[in-house]
Symmetry: C2
Subunit: 455 residues, 2 copies
């Protein structure tokens, strides 16, 4: 009995630390290094981590005056810079090394918002090892996220209002030969009604993945808040994987032939199998295919696989005037290509920080179903809403699209809002255009989010 | 018109690269560095990344013989090691530096499975910057994930069978003072029936967050596959945040007072506000509270907030014999504490890689409602299922719990399975015990997953 009791007690201490030590929430004192292989750090034996962890430090730390202090333990590094949105447009900030091997930087105050940041350690980009809130990306580099709070909850902060659900739908994509996922917001009243809902298809950009509009864009929170204030109509928001590849974490069948062919993973028997690409074994990837084929594969998935799966799974209206499609950056280009190619399917088009997609030399000639017969399909759209940031590298492309529509006398909204090519721009865009969708009359486009935002 | 057309064309090239370059899927040739600030790398201006990216390399690369090659560009580093599950129990593997600054290691062949790994660069742990598939953790260090495929889809791989949905439910937690989330699997037939379903509450461990059982544990895929083979009964699987803090990405109201008090973030006005903790400004966290209070806060959230929210939102049976609670590691300890304290609420108890929770000196004395009156509540449980790995550091704690139950003549299953304290252990556990839940008769505990797994 003595042995039994002490074994139980030993386990208690161990799991207590594991569950409730909560690294970030209550880290031990600085200067007390974790001991790998002891009960203090059991996760190190199995969690993909290893080596000395260094002192337990707090990072990020948001200070009351809206400055942000970042810390990184890197005793052998010779230069560490902070990069990302948290700089608010300034040049990379050099961190200062302390005698304990901890690099520190306190950045200038920024307006309330959610920011991305990362460290560059002697040329290696890495997210903040102490920050669990990472942005999932499609290969352009992981980044950490930090929120600088405002005075009370902002339009993108969760409030104690009725919450919708985010439903992750898995479907087989014939067009891409992969299993894929879409994240679908259903409004709070969805499970209390039997009606069909209008649908917004909302695409992320090239650096993101299917969770992007939920985990970084906060679309469900923004919609919850709009609906609680009766500023928007209840709608489904479908956030698919807006690229050619497969979703992550579904196994080999979640990988598109393109990903498998790049040599990252030897394909298994069955679907998706194919000969390894030349050069893959040496870590050299095959050249990217030229031309519009990948975008066409996406549009084929979207129209042939995704939309039918959504309409099978959810109570989604199938009327064109109850469908909106929008996207940012590369997702905006995919939106142009999809909606301009099949204007019969959509009533609303939203283009954020993007131009005319893969239109080739002439956007009008590329989309005859949209611009042909005096742009009859374009003129029947309920709303074409185009926006870009005033410091957005996509601004010129958006302006060119604006001009093409103006030249064809197609009614549309084109606006620039303060900001760069960042999520800080697109969250307020959603807040604004969501109020215009599926309404009998276009409403004012002036938004609280836009008004509240300062730089 | 010329200016307009060329601007559109320029935008095309840019967004084409953004969306379809797909870094990991089709990276450019080795030796062609990305140019920050050009159209080749637009994300660098706004995506939280910056500084030179180095050559575009493929990592991870899974080879046909089930070896894994990892690569990292770190020209100034003096030592880089690979850590994590991918080593399959071996010591950290040193990588070799090439003249181009790219470190490379090809690891020994491993059995088909999903593995975590990370790099230790001169003492700094970092996930693989080239791998978008990262594991979200609660502060113990980010890790990358890689799947080594088997011959055809495994029990944890998505197959073209009917798929359930994963529904992310947001709720207000009075017990923790925070907005929190639970990920809820609903089986494929859920939207075609009107019946109430039995519920498995499934908790992650101390190093994970609420997406853990979905993004790393693959519970929805495992359940889809079991249901397609009619090996399990349709059930809801509720995967909550199994710790005291708030969920990520919900804004300041998603932070528990504990997280706010640690000084990471200055709380906003309103809920969750409080005085900054002493020492927070210097990056020194306050000492962790001692005693069982945090676990009680979790149990209070679980019983007082989470379960009612689930039963309000979903068609969940409220009968004890239709409720199971299970968890791994720290989540197993929380399961012990919750179910042993309130045995009236549950019919099934699953403990993976954990002991007797915060039972104090004597597990029997700590839970009188469970062990009192000759362990009458314990003996009424439909199933108590305890498992740990044969190289699991939690094995002794699990054995002690086994002994306490045996001493009280409480019928239960206790088994060891090959493996360490890793997700490689717990995925087959789920595959096995899910077949035993909510069945008229306990079924065989021998699983295909267990049989198929070799080490």
């Amino acid at each position: 009995m003595t042995r039994h009791t002490s074994a139980v007690t030993g386990m208690l201490a161990l799991v207590g630390v594991t569950l409730f030590g909560q690294g970030r929430a209550q880290p031990p004192q600085v200067g007390v290094p974790a001991q790998p292989g002891t009960a203090q750090a059991p996760g190190q034996r199995g969690g993909g981590r290893g080596g000395p962890q260094g002192p337990q430090i707090v990072s990020p730390q948001v200070n009351a005056e809206r400055t942000v202090t970042l810390r990184l333990y890197a005793p052998k590094a010779t230069q560490v810079n902070v990069t990302g949105e948290i700089l608010n447009g300034a040049a990379p900030a050099a961190m200062t090394k302390g005698e304990d091997g901890v690099w520190t930087a306190t950045l200038p105050a920024v307006p309330p918002d959610v920011y991305l940041y990362a460290f560059n350690i002697d040329g290696v980009n890495t997210p903040d090892p102490r920050n669990p809130w990472v942005k999932l990306v499609s290969g352009t580099g992981l980044a950490s996220q930090v929120e600088v709070p405002g005075d009370g909850p902002q339009y993108y902060d969760s409030k104690p209002v009725p919450h919708g659900l985010v439903q992750i739908m898995t479907y087989e994509s014939k067009a891409t030969g992969a299993t894929r996922q879409a994240w679908v917001y259903t409004p709070p009243d969805y499970n209390r009604t039997t009606t069909k809902y209008p649908v917004l298809y909302l695409l992320h950009g090239g650096g993101d993945l299917d969770p992007g509009w939920v985990m970084t864009g906060r679309a469900p929170i923004i919609m919850d808040n709009l609906l609680a204030e009766k500023k928007a109509r209840p709608m489904l928001v479908v956030m698919p994987l807006a690229r050619g590849g497969g979703s992550l974490g579904l196994g080999p069948n979640g990988m598109s032939p393109g990903i498998a062919a790049a040599g990252n993973v030897a394909p298994p028997a069955g679907r998706g199998a194919g000969a390894p690409a030349p050069g893959a074994a040496a870590g050299v990837a095959p050249p990217a295919p030229a031309g519009p084929a990948p975008l066409q594969a996406f549009a084929q998935d979207f129209i042939g696989d995704l939309m039918p799966a959504v309409e099978r799974t959810f109570r989604a209206s199938t009327r064109a005037e109850d469908r909106a499609m929008g996207g940012l950056s590369a997702g905006g280009a995919a939106t142009v290509n999809t909606t301009f190619s099949r204007p019969d399917l959509f009533g609303y088009i939203i283009i954020m920080s993007a131009g005319a997609g893969q239109a080739g030399q002439n956007v009008e000639a590329s989309y005859p179903k949209f611009f042909g017969n005096n742009a009859s399909a374009a003129r029947q759209m309920k709303l074409i809403w185009i926006a870009a940031g005033d410091e957005d590298f996509a601004l010129n492309g958006a302006k060119a699209l604006d001009e093409a529509l103006t030249k064809n006398a197609v009614k549309h909204v084109f606006k620039t809002t303060p900001g760069r090519h960042e999520w800080r721009l697109w969250r307020p865009h959603l807040y604004e255009f969501a109020q215009l969708l599926f309404q009998p009359q276009p409403r004012s486009t002036e938004s609280d989010a836009g008004k509240a935002r300062s730089r």
